[in-house]
Subunit: 171 residues, 2 copies
């Protein structure tokens, strides 16, 4: 069976080594060691998302306040890119597949998400030009990792999770 | 609605700040800066799990080779505790809830898991005594975070994931 990682690489066109090049240097420190560039990026991104002319995509986010979406994303990014674990302190493990479970993370939605993120990255001046392609590779690979995760969890709905899950354990 | 983090704290008895005290110092560096202590711990742990006299618990792991279980766990721990991102390079995001989705992560299973981990920690000499209670708090909180995640994903099976997931998006 093809792994989540393999699917993410194949569908995104980004090899795992390129996706996780963000770990070769501490991106948080390279961008000045404060959350501000990530706040800027997430604000820029979600402003585009919440104003998207494509209603089907905008609607995916309609259950959340824009301010909350921004905070969730920038706290995750700060933590994942080498800064303090803001997300885990407030909300626990990122658990990306689990937390995206309510949303239809399709190939099409991933591409629309990436379209807005590409534009947000290009217009966020507090992120330096060297870092942008690394972050974009991470985003592209991660978006398709979540498409693969979405398929995995939805497939599992049609079969019992495992033979032991529904049977009462022996004493 | 009570969050995953709140449930994890309530059920485990470990506050989020104590669970993520592992981030206050770099645990990987504090233990010598090599994966060896984590290899030792995971080998010790899974040796107990795969030999558990309680069949219902041992059976949960019967679909995986012990060597693979050890590698998955120690690579995750190295990465999460401040070392190189071994897990993500090989398998992608930890995605703890998604990857535990096939398993019956009940309160009872969490307690059995923690029983073995407590014993493994106590008998792993390459982990220093100062670090052990921090790691145990992290494990205890995380185990119940996954119990909460397990409940969340199983509840979602009985209702459509969201109103947009099954409808075809408008062009």
């Amino acid at each position: 069976m093809q792994s989540l990682q393999d699917k993410a690489s194949e569908w995104s066109g980004v090899a795992a080594a390129d996706a996780f090049a963000i770990d070769e240097v501490n991106v948080f420190e390279a961008l000045g060691g404060t959350p501000q560039p990530f706040v800027d990026l997430s604000t820029n991104f979600y402003t585009r998302v919440y104003e998207d002319e494509e209603e089907w995509f905008r609607e995916i986010f309609s259950g959340s306040k824009k301010e909350d979406a921004i905070q969730n994303q920038y706290e995750f990014l700060v933590q994942r890119m080498g800064g303090p674990p803001l997300f885990s302190q407030r909300r626990g493990h990122p658990a990306l597949i689990g937390r995206h479970r309510p949303f239809p993370v399709t190939h099409r939605a991933a591409e629309r998400w990436l379209h807005h993120m590409q534009q947000a990255l290009e217009t966020t001046e507090s992120i330096n030009p060297d870092t942008k392609p690394k972050m974009m590779n991470f985003f592209r690979h991660t978006a398709y990792f979540l498409v693969a995760g979405n398929e995995m969890t939805r497939q599992m709905q049609s079969v019992p999770p495992c033979k032991h899950a529904t049977s009462k354990p022996a004493e």
